[in-house]
Point group: C2
Chain length 311, copies 2
Amino acid sequence: MNVSPQFEMRLTSFVLHVEEALEDVLGKSPLPAELTRPARLRDAMAYAVLGGGKRLRPLLVVESAGLFGVDFHYALNAGIAFELLHCYSLVHDDLPAMDNDDTRRGKPTVHKAFDEATAILAGDALQTLAFDVLTRETTHNDPAVRTALVRCLAAASGIGGMAGGQMLDLEAEGRFSGDKTPPPLTIEEIERLQRMKTGALLSACCRAGGILGKADSDAQRALDRFGRAIGFAFQLADDLLDVEGSAEEVGKAVGKDAALNKATLVSTLGPLAARRKLNDLVDDAKRALRPFGTRAEWLTACADFVAARKS
Amino acid sequence: MNVSPQFEMRLTSFVLHVEEALEDVLGKSPLPAELTRPARLRDAMAYAVLGGGKRLRPLLVVESAGLFGVDFHYALNAGIAFELLHCYSLVHDDLPAMDNDDTRRGKPTVHKAFDEATAILAGDALQTLAFDVLTRETTHNDPAVRTALVRCLAAASGIGGMAGGQMLDLEAEGRFSGDKTPPPLTIEEIERLQRMKTGALLSACCRAGGILGKADSDAQRALDRFGRAIGFAFQLADDLLDVEGSAEEVGKAVGKDAALNKATLVSTLGPLAARRKLNDLVDDAKRALRPFGTRAEWLTACADFVAARKS
């Protein structure tokens, strides 16, 4: 599960591309003359999106699309739509009424740096922008591909995906039942929560690569299997970081799960078994890519990257 | 500016169709077996969307599409996407950090009936669902039409439209400058704010009708002119209601603009001149529809409906 220097170099250059594409999309698309982008809202959106983040979601879109020789600029554009969606969810999850976090990526969260109303609106407008970007000719010249991408992103992020997963997470804290020590979730319930809250969007990134590449159903199935394993592995690595990492390294508060008495797979299985499971998931993800042969070199490296991350 | 009994009957039946379509879309689309729609989130979304509302946005989509003989079920489906987007914006605008409203359509607002976290998530997931609905084959069989609809909705509701307009509105209250009596907006600034906050989405509904009907550029221009006039008229009628209506009739708090010392066209022009301007806008909207002849009968009636509304 080590990341090669070649992958690190590729990643560094990729992150710069993503940053540039995000800057572009936040400020430069044309508006009718009588309209405006209110500066405060634009600044809050840029603050939420630029200058940080692993850019794992665009990476997965681009490397999945790479299996099929998709034009890099198409895939990058689709990838930043997934990143915008992800960033919106972070802004809203951090709100006082939600997880009430003050720090994200080592900086004050959006509602701390601006205010709550601005943070709500910035999240809202980032979600809208994500869908907007997917409809552009710069994402793909075939409207059937663009509409399939919108659908893929929406399915992963709505009530049956990310937003629903966040709701399950709040419920698991006993927020609405008034029960301060709610019964711990079962392993099946934890897995479902995580599959919805974070897994769905990560898997959708891999699926999006297949959509861009007009993958046949075998290839799409392989990507789906890879995406599921990666999504799960990501969450396990996240939970392990929450237990084993320091706030400085991770860039946000750690030990939150334990403080909230939140059941995770790490707390349920124990860290050793959790790490073993993480290794199994990475192996499974790699096996799913075998049919693609050497074309899957970089996507395979992404599996290691997800498991080895330190922040 | 009276609404005919025929139009009233048509509207009553239409509102039932919308209600049914909304119920359908909130509960029935398939999910992979291992996922779920958390009941609390589903209930909050349904609470925000069902059992109330004039359904003006789907009405405009359907009657605009009617100019081109578009299948009713296509247009209805597109229309409810616009309604879902509108409902999300109401849920978020009502939040304590935003306009802090306790009542909407004569009922407690979502964060009062549920809680703030649930209201934020319900709004988020309603926005996602709006885009999801537009990508379905039941909205149009041509993916180029579906992707154009997504684009149209996104452009109207993001930073250069509805969300940006809400930001301008908060700024006009002097929220971020710390200035308790901020300088009043000029007429141009008020018009821009309103064009973004409410006008953009209403105009987009009319444009969506043209997209569904594959309107030529002359017809699309006529619809755009109609949509602009209607959007403006709607806001004027709203401001007049805030001055002249009672909370019971309107279903939400009135007199808020004056209490917040908020500049509106009614406070700037005076109610008489504002009412005259409203009449001019309705006339202009109707003139825009002349090229469509008798096919525009119902859309013309919508212009009167917008101006004559009591809630």
